[in-house]
Amino acid sequence: MQENVTRAVVFTLLLCLNIRLLNGESPPGKPVIFKCSSPEKETFTCWWKPGANGGLPTNYTLTYYKEGEDTIYECPDYNTSGPNSCYFSKKFTSLWSVYIIRVYATNKMGISASDERLVDVAYIVEPNPPKNVTLEIQQPEDGKPYLWIKWVPPTLADTASGWLLLQYEVRLKHEKAVEWEIYFAGQQTNFKVLSFYPGYKYLVHVRCKPDHGLWSKWSEEHSIEIPSDLNMNDETTWIFVAILSAVICLVMVWAVAFKGYRMMTCILPPVPGPKIKGFDTRLLETGKTEEFLTAFGCQGFPPTSDCEDLLVEFLEVNDSEDQQLMPSFSKKYPGQGVKFRHPDRDNDSGHGSCDSPSLLSEKCGGPWANPRTFHIPKVIEKLENLEANITCTWDPLNISTEGKIFNFHTNGSRSSTWPLPQPSQHKPRSPYHSTAEVCKLPMGPKAALATVLDKSVKDALKFSKSIEIGGEEKAVKKMEVESFPAKTEQDTAWLLPQEKTPFIPEKTLDYVEIHKVNKDGALSLTPKQKNSIDQTEKPQASEISKEYVKVVRVTDNNILVLVPDPRAQNKEAPRSLQQNQAEKDTSCFTATPSNCRLHLGGSDYLDPASLTHSFHGQFE
């Protein structure tokens, strides 16, 4: 019985429900609170979205409670903010406390509750857009025109009291543009736009944001038509400036292009290269030595027997590391690998191994002991190509007592094979470019020449007019040595072997005087009478004196100033007669071209061997 009743009730209920369902009625769907925001940090509003209403009128209620409290409150105002919203006025708004809010949808069929939403009002501030946006074109007298945008903060925001701090942003574009230009305006309520195109219509929006909140929506669109005839002064000015500078540039380019050379010569005068009168560099390059030589008045190379009178004394020079070696045969000078031995007059090699640029001291005690041997040290240059007749007119060789010996600078600290008869304590590195170097002088353009001789040497080099060899048609060529690098006076040394071995203190040095200069410009040197000079009128290969003389410098008249060993010179002092009294210790000689035909190996020295060959025929 009971069962029947209950069954009937349930059945009825289900039937009713069925009927209702068939009618489309259901409990409401779950509402969703989709947004809560505060426009001015003093009130806030929450909006929800209703769910399905189930076909029945549905009531929505919003309830909340605050953190730490148990009391549940209901929404104070459902209307102010529109439908499906709840507005919390100042009275009900507390910053920095969390609201837990929930919305209930109620209808006849049931109730649905939304999820809880946690809200801290301080973090949901989203102001309204700025208001009263105005656009103006301003044209100041002294400046470019600009577009001036002004606005005011949204109504509710209280920026004056400092409760709310707003920052603004502006965006604009002209009608046809695709993208907006967005500018941040900070906390100011105006903005100047400087770059725009006249003749277009521009659209402007403004929005704002609190310091720790969310951006507002963009304000309404405001537009402004920019007049086409707006004078954008700056552009005109810049165009004018650009044209002017272009013109100036063109003028300068033209000037440089056409007059560039002259200007450059004015500004930077070229350094004159070495010139030798009568010397044609082109002949050199073509390799036609004959013509070359004839240009110099040389009669050919090697010198013929006519030139018997030509005595060319080779310099045998022993270089040593320490140039000071030269003067001392005594133990005073540190033997720098050079042994000074008693010159052996008979030993006349003067060539061969001793000619190598390497230190000969060990090997060749002899050769340079021979006063009669003149060896010309090797020279590193391309002199072999040069058959130029190096003519150095020279005054009678004067070997003065005072030896200021200039050392020709050699390329390196190559030990010279020729010790210097050097009294002074200069430090000639390698004095023995010497003859070779001098010989190079007329070779002219070769830079080596220039590098070798000292300026002073250059000055001293002269061609004496006095030396006119009879029968010689060609005047002694003046040798102009140009552009000698200025070096210290000690840079170069120049030795002439003398009859006497300079290394023997007892030996006196001889003056060498120019015997004659043959038509080829070859020099014959004759030693002046000396005590112990073994003189040979013609320097022979086998008898080449080994006395040394250093070329001190080249005088103005192109006279080579040779300096003998000072010791020897002491004795000779009275005898020395200089053409140029001004020059002390000057002696001069010229080497025949043959002398200067030096094999230039890797050394700075002339290779006497090469010379002796050539002279063998000349000198008996």
């Binding site: 003093e42 100042k90 920095w96 301080a122 973090y123 400092g162 409760w163 310091d211």
Partner: protein, 224 residues
């Protein structure tokens, strides 16, 4: 008669001098120290820059922690608990802010700043024991701590200028949250950290808001 008059005049002069002296003494134009040179506006500007920066860092810190250590949606919702500075009665709206005396307001700010000195140092130390290498979090916390000290000094200077006789009795809210940070249960520990960072974020926002409000009220006479 003359003597009496003179005597009374002298007395009068003496009294007036004393009064004047007292007035002068009680109102020093500028207390000793270099802060006197910097005007109130500049001090407020500097303080606001610091407070703004501190709050930005705190927001980042809190959000990064939640992102890194959350173990599910709404995981930290249930973690809410009271902040240790809740006992401090701070204005919760503009009207309430208007009602507080300026002097007291400044003291309140100092109180708030001082309340976080100790918790920050503990947070930095204990955070090293968090599981997932919280180096950036610790770095941010250290930066907040450093800037907080500077801000405290700055607001103290402001208080001296606002009212030279201001009495700062050194109050601050005591923090008792250390045991929670050292809890064995990871979840409790995470909740504790979440809460601390949440409270830090809130309090730094308060300080920032108050200082910006006070700047306009004090340095610009209520109208920025």
């Amino acid at each position: 008669m003359d003597g009496k008059r003179q005597g009374s005049l002298l007395l009068l002069l003496l009294m007036s001098n004393l009064l004047l002296c007292k007035n002068v003494a009680s109102q020093p134009m500028c207390p000793s120290g270099s802060s006197c040179r910097v005007s109130l506006r500049d001090l407020f500007e500097r303080a606001i820059i610091l407070s703004h920066y501190i709050h930005s860092l705190s927001s980042e810190l809190s959000q990064e922690f939640d992102a890194q250590y959350s173990q599910g949606p709404e995981f930290f919702t249930q973690a809410m608990s009271m902040c240790h500075t809740a006992s401090l009665s701070t204005p919760a709206g503009k009207e309430q802010a208007h009602q507080i005396h300026q002097k007291d307001f400044v003291i309140l700010v100092i109180h708030l700043l001082r309340s976080w000195t100790e918790p920050l140092s503990h947070l930095i130390i204990e955070a090293n024991h968090l599981p997932k290498a919280p180096d950036t979090l610790i770095a941010k916390a250290m930066e907040i701590q450093e800037q907080n000290q500077r801000l405290l000094e700055g607001v103290k200077k402001i208080s001296k200028l606002v009212d030279p006789e201001i009495i700062d009795n050194g109050d601050y809210s005591v923090w008792l949250g250390l045991p929670s940070l050292q809890s064995n249960d990871l979840e409790s520990r995470l909740f504790a950290y979440h809460n601390e960072f949440r409270c830090l974020r809130r309090d730094t926002h308060k300080v920032d808001n108050y200082l910006k409000f006070l700047k306009c009220q004090i340095a610009y006479d209520g109208s920025c």
